[in-house]
Structures are given as structure tokens and as C-alpha cells.
């Protein structure tokens, strides 16, 4: 197992380097002059040049790449044009917010998706199955952005059950920063009121973000459960008089979960990179909005840093999934 971890971590470094090189070239050959945008609409050519020199944009591309790589290795991810701060500092603020949103969303998708998949499979071709399948199809088809707006309009504005957006009420003091994730920090500091406030703010964006993943998990889990429930060992278990709940939970679900796990890993990566729309609707101050603002400002260093962090997170998540796979399935363990 340790060998697998070492090999995958080494591969990660190589892949991240490749990702960085591709991003650097793409970002720098794209049209748009970051120095001009940073200087402002009325700036003279001389003022634009001042900023170009200040940010090292006057140097040849290969030289800039070498300088950039050197900086990244020492932990310096550059300075953002649009926030004026060190990118590392920005990421330390925005990434935990996105991670919290994604973890909550994927948690929601798992907690709801797996039982619904099971219910659909157990009630195969009955009313519950049909309703859940329609729900799953609509989840895949429904644009997240639109769903977010609808949830916001109905649950937050009309029913006033949830706040419209943001991470906390404007006048609430955030808990002492430990992880940067408000719900976790509130719990760690024992501030339950802030925890509930943070969860209330988290719920609608997480629900919007989780919907496509929820639908996928339901579909995969239902299909796997159907297949598993028709296996001989399940029939055998039923013949032995084992209760239905035990058959589903202890015998069928464990096997059906393996493909679902792979789906969860993929969805996690997709969610990390796809939060921007939900963050926009709910004013969630995460890396999605940060990267989007950077992109429209031709602010390359934040874009590259975000790509790097999201890429690394995606790879780590998949490594974790593979390890879980190995832990759950002795055949996989034997191949490692």
C-alpha cells in the first residue's frame, strides 16, 4: 500500500508540473494585455509600461516561466493584480471556503444519493423507483445556476427559511480562524450559534452544487444495487431468513458501493472546478469567483495558482478513493 502511495505522489508532482507548463503557455498566449488592464482604461502607454516592468511582464516568456517555477518552489505564487495581495494569501482565504462548500455538497449527495439509490433498487419498477429515476434524470439535466436562483428565490426570499447568500450574517463575527472553514472553526471554538448560522448559509449553495452529483450517485448506486440484489449469495441469504434491512445494508450495499466510490471521486473533482456558478449566485467567497474575476482581468498568477491547487486536490481525492477501494475490495488490495 505504501508503495502505491509513493508512486502516485511522484506521478502527481510530474502531472502538476505538466499542468503548470500548459497553463502558463495558454495564459500567456491568450489575447489581452494584463498590464494595460491593471493600469486602467485611461492609462497612457508610459503608465502601462511602468506596470509591465514592475510585474516582470517585459521579460521573454521562457525566462518568465523559469522565474515563475522558481517562485512556486519557494512557495511564492505571485501577486494578484485585482486584489493587490499575495496569491498564497488569497488562496488561504478563498480555498477553504470552496473546500467547505464542496465537502458539504458531496456529503449531501452521498447522504441522500446512496439511500435513494437503494430505495429505488429495492422498489424496482414501483412508484418510488419511478419517482426517484425522474428526480435523477432532472438532476442531471437541470442547470445548477438556474436551480440555485430558484432555490434562492423560493426558499430564501419567499419563505425566508434561509439567508440569500454569503457565509454568515453581515453582523455576525466569524469564529477564530483555524481551518478557514467556518462550520469547522465554529465547532472547534465551541460557538454553536455561529455553527448553525454557517450551516444555514451553506445549505442552499451546497444543495445546488450537489444536485448533479446526487443524481449521478443515485443512478449508479441503483444500477449496482439491482445487479447485486439478483446475485446468488443474496438469494441464499434470503433463503436463510436474514432480514431485508440486513441483506441490503450488510450484504448488497457494500459490493454495490465500489463503482459509486469511483463516481464520487470524479464528482468531487468536477465540483471543485465547477463552483463558480453557485458561488456567483450565492456570493460565496471561494476560489471559483476568485478565478473568474482573475480570468476577466487577465490576472494570470491567480489563475495558475488556482489550477494548481484544484489539480492537486483532484489528484489527492482520487488517490484517497483508490485507497478506499483497496481497503474495501480484497481483489484490488491483492493487485497493489
Amino acid at each position: 500500500m505504501l508503495k502505491l502511495i509513493y508512486r502516485r505522489l511522484l506521478m502527481m508532482v510530474v502531472m502538476l508540473l505538466g499542468l503548470l507548463a500548459i497553463m502558463f503557455v495558454v495564459a500567456n498566449v491568450a489575447p489581452g494585455d494584463p498590464a494595460r488592464l491593471a493600469a486602467g482604461p485611461d492609462a497612457t502607454r508610459d503608465m502601462v509600461e511602468t506596470i509591465r516592468v514592475e510585474r516582470g511582464l517585459d521579460k521573454p516568456l521562457p525566462q518568465r516561466f523559469v522565474i515563475y517555477l522558481g517562485s512556486v518552489v519557494t512557495g511564492d505564487l505571485g501577486t494578484s493584480i485585482h486584489t493587490g495581495r499575495a496569491v498564497l494569501h488569497d488562496l488561504a482565504i478563498y480555498f477553504p471556503a470552496t473546500l467547505e462548500l464542496v465537502l458539504f455538497s458531496i456529503g449531501l449527495a452521498i447522504v441522500l444519493g446512496i439511500p435513494l439509490g437503494v430505495i429505488a433498487a429495492v422498489n424496482h419498477n414501483q412508484l418510488a423507483d419511478h419517482i426517484i429515476r425522474i428526480f435523477a434524470v432532472s438532476g442531471v439535466a437541470m442547470p445548477m445556476f438556474w436551480l440555485g436562483l430558484m432555490l434562492q428565490w423560493y426558499l430564501a426570499l419567499e419563505l425566508n427559511w434561509f439567508p440569500l447568500g454569503g457565509q454568515l450574517d453581515l453582523m455576525s463575527d466569524p469564529p477564530t480562524r483555524i481551518t478557514g472553514m467556518l462550520t469547522v472553526d465554529a465547532l472547534l471554538t465551541g460557538n454553536f450559534a455561529i455553527f448553525l448560522g454557517a450551516v444555514a448559509h451553506l445549505f442552499l449553495p451546497a444543495l445546488s452544487l450537489s444536485f448533479p452529483a446526487l443524481a449521478s450517485i443515485i443512478r449508479v448506486n441503483r444500477a449496482e444495487m439491482l445487479e447485486t440484489l439478483n446475485r446468488d449469495y443474496i438469494t441464499n441469504a434470503r433463503a436463510q431468513g436474514i432480514g431485508p434491512l440486513r441483506i441490503v445494508a450488510a450484504y448488497a450495499l457494500k459490493n454495490a458501493l465500489l463503482p459509486t466510490l469511483a463516481m464520487i471521486g470524479l464528482r468531487f473533482g468536477w465540483m471543485l472546478g465547477g463552483t463558480v456558478l453557485v458561488e456567483g449566485v450565492f456570493d460565496w467567497p471561494g476560489v471559483g469567483l476568485y478565478a473568474a474575476k482573475a480570468a476577466i482581468s487577465s490576472d494570470f498568477e491567480p489563475i495558475m495558482a488556482v489550477t494548481l491547487v484544484l489539480g492537486a486536490s483532484f489528484m489527492l481525492a482520487n488517490l484517497l478513493i483508490d485507497l478506499t477501494y483497496a481497503a474495501l475490495d480484497p481483489r484490488v488490495r491483492a493487485q497493489v
Binding site: 482604461p41 430505495i119 450565492f282
Partner: protein, 529 residues
Amino acid sequence: MRIDWNWLRSAVLGVVLAVTAIAGAGAVEKLDGKLYLVIAGRQPVSTLDPAQKYDYAIRMMEQALYDGLVKYEGNPPEVKPWLAESWEVSDDGLVWTFHLVDNAKFHNGDPVNAEAVRYSFVRTLELNKGPAWMLQDFLAPEGIEAVDDRTVRFTLKKPYAPFLSFLPWWFIVNPAIVEANSVDGDRAQTWLNENAAGSGPFKLAKFEQGKAYWLEVNKDYWKGFPYEADNFGGIIYKLVRESAGQRAALIKGEADIVGGLTPEEMEKIAEREGIHTTTLPALTAFGLKFNTQNEHMSDINVRKAIAHAFDYDGLVKIFNGEAKLQTSPFGDAIKGKIDVAGIPRRDLQMAKDYLAKSAWPDGGFDVEYVYVQGFEEERQMGLLLIDALKDLNIDVKMTPLTWPNMVGRAAEVDTAPDIIAIFATPVSTDPDAVAIQYHPTSFGKYYGSHFLEDEELKGMIEKARNETDWSKRQPIYAEIQERIVELQPEIFGMMRNRRFAFRDWVKGFQDSPIRMTEEIDLYPLHIAK
């Protein structure tokens, strides 16, 4: 097989109820018994340093945290005394002397003196960023002198009539604080991104980048306030990035002012109880700029033909009538603006006559129209253009681009498109602020994508800006406006109104057309409740 999920339903319901119980709406934000006014805006404040950059959000915050020698107020906008209680200018227009008020203090209690004014101007000029372009051709750091504690003198390199009109955007920083926070000779640029060193009516209470920016009333403000509201604590500028979110925040009471809603949203929200809306004239002009050096657009008859074929009524309808067609390249609030006779309106016969005189009398060519990706109004303008030019047998290729890519293409004559959708807001009411957009010094800037070269126009613009006597400048600017229309470097479009919606308890809103899109003068704003 049946499984009892009732326990799970109960648990989920319990958690949801507990969470939603604390998610109620508040009418006005309160902190320590004080009322806070919340503005929900879309643009983040990327810096608070008056010498680095400006846009509407930055300018709104800076004007609350800092003071200038003078300030724009009113409609029409007038330059009013502020830190400078009076000033005089020499007969040759070269020497400007300002006399400061004697009671102005920075937030830390230091006096605002002539040396602070000199230091602030020198810092901006030497950093060569933000507003530096406004004065750098006419004012050198050595031309600024603190004569005594309350007198500062500017000696210009050559006369520059609009000098005073740009001063409201040159804010005074506290030299002691700037020097104390300077790192590696950066003159506190990094520190001032998220901190303030001013003397303005508000102090910076909290700067949460990407979320909200908190201003606290400066109780000791040297100029006092134009209202009495002891329970008013300050203003919070909160980021809400979607207009649907802005509207919802206003309805729910999570915001007290929002700007920039679509005309349809404005209509709907005005029907709600406790909310009122306003539409105000602005200086922002919209034009479809031609690249006058491109193959087809270099022919003035083609430009005239397109300008006469365009559907101007359709343009105003895109904004639900909340826009006014331009009658001159200059906006209404620009000094010396005239209504130029013969400014094109839709006249298909005239359009065909012009095209007949061109090198392409039967049309039969394509033009490229570039606009901001995702900007619905600009897309609709492109559709208007397609319809209008069908009658001339000219095809329009619509190219949506992101703003950086648009700016990149507009910067060079070889890449600037045939037609580009441009909103431009002058930062001064002096006619030079608009006229200079048609001078070769503007090539490379997004509004200079016309690449118009005309020696006569260039000469007039230069003559007018160096002339100090308004009675002599005025006729030159009348000629400049006529000449620009004659050369037709663009379809002169419309002046878009500014749109705001408020909760009824918001008081003190004062408009001036000089303000950018969603910029608000925060000084007189407060809550009466």
C-alpha cells in the same frame, strides 16, 4: 422488502428546522445600537490607494475615506471647495495657488497641511499609476510647493485649462502613515490596498476582500455632516454579484441600496412596498466605434451610410426608454456642449446615397462587430446593426469577446475591429475630457479604437486645452464637436441613465452626473428610522 425511513426523515427535519430558525431577515443592520446602511454592489474594491487605480467602487470608497482639494457636487456638476477653501490662478494660467481650511484633520488627528498635499501629488505622479495620466503632461513633482502650512502652489509646465476639473480625483494621504507603512520603497502601496490614511467623513472599520467593506462614521470629521443622526453608525458596501441577488437582497432587507438593475427589474421592484427607484442622467456615453483605418471603414461614405442606416429608436428601446440619444459627441453635463445639427438619425435613403458615393456602392462586404461577451444589451445592439445593414447589403459578423480580449484587440490599429461597442465615462466635466478621446494620444486605449487621424481636429483639441480663457475655448469646442460628427468615427449612440433602488428609510442621496455607473456619494447618505 420495506425499510422504515421515518427516523431519518425526523432527524433531517429537526436539523433543517434548527438551522432555519436562525436565518430570519433583518430590516436595518444594527451593531452596538447603531444603524448601518448596506449597499449591495457587484464590483469588488481592488484597492483603497488613491494613487494606484480607480473604478466606480474604488472611487466611491476613496471619496468616503479621503478628501481632495475640491469636490464635484450637484447637477450640473460643479467643482466645490473642500480641503481648499479658495484658490486663484495666474493670468497666464501657469500658477495655481490653493488655500487650505485650517481645521482639517486626518483620522489619527494629524493636521492636513500643505506638505501633505504636496506629498500626495508627488507620490501619485512618481508612482505613475491611477490618476497620474490626468496631470502628468502638465505638472512635474518639482512644480508643487508647500508655500506655508496652509498654502500650496502648483506651477504648470504649460497652461492647462482643465487642471481644476481633475483635482477632485486627487486625494490627500497622511505622509506620516504612508512612510511608516512603506515596505522596500513601495510607498505603502501594498498596505494602502486594504488600509486608509485619509481625512474623509468615514473611517475604515473592516476590509473583507471579496465579501464586504465597512465604513464607520468619522464623528470628528472636520467638515461635519449635512444631517443629524446620532444613531447612524456607518455604511457597508457588500458584494452581491448577480442582479437577481441584488434585487432579492433589497426586497428581503439585506440591502438598503442597489444599483445597476436591469430596466425590467427596476419596474418590478418599484411596485414593492417600502422601496423606491430613481433613474438619473449620466455622463456615460455609448457609441459603436469604427476603426477608421480598416479597409471599408476608412471610407467616410461607408461610415456615414452605416450611421444613417442604424436604428436609433431601437437602441433606446433596448434600455426601456431609460436612455437619451446623443446630440453631440459630448454628454449633456459637459461644459460647452452643443446640439450638433445633422447628427445622423435613421434615414435609409440618405444611407443608400452615401453608400453609392463609396468605393462599394452596392455593399456586398462584411463588417465585424465586437462586443462584451455576456452583455445582453450589446448583443441586442448587434442585432439592430444586422437588421439595419441588410438594407445596404452589408453583412455583420458578431464577435463576442471577454473584456480583456476586447481591450487587447482595440489597442492596435491592425487588430481593432470594424465596429466595437464602447461605453465611456469621462472623469471630468471639462470638454477636454471628451475631446481628447478623439486625439491620437488616445490610440491604444479602448475608446481610441477609432484610430481617427485628422490634423485639423488634432490642432483644435490641442489649442483648446492650452487656452485658459473660456470665452475663447467655447467656440473652439463647438467646432470640435461639429468636426467629430462630420468625420463620423462612430455611431453616436446614447447616454445611458444610472439606475438605483432604495429602501424608503435611506436619506440624503445626492446625485451628480459626473459619477460613474453605480458610484454613490456616501458623505450625505444616512438612515432616518
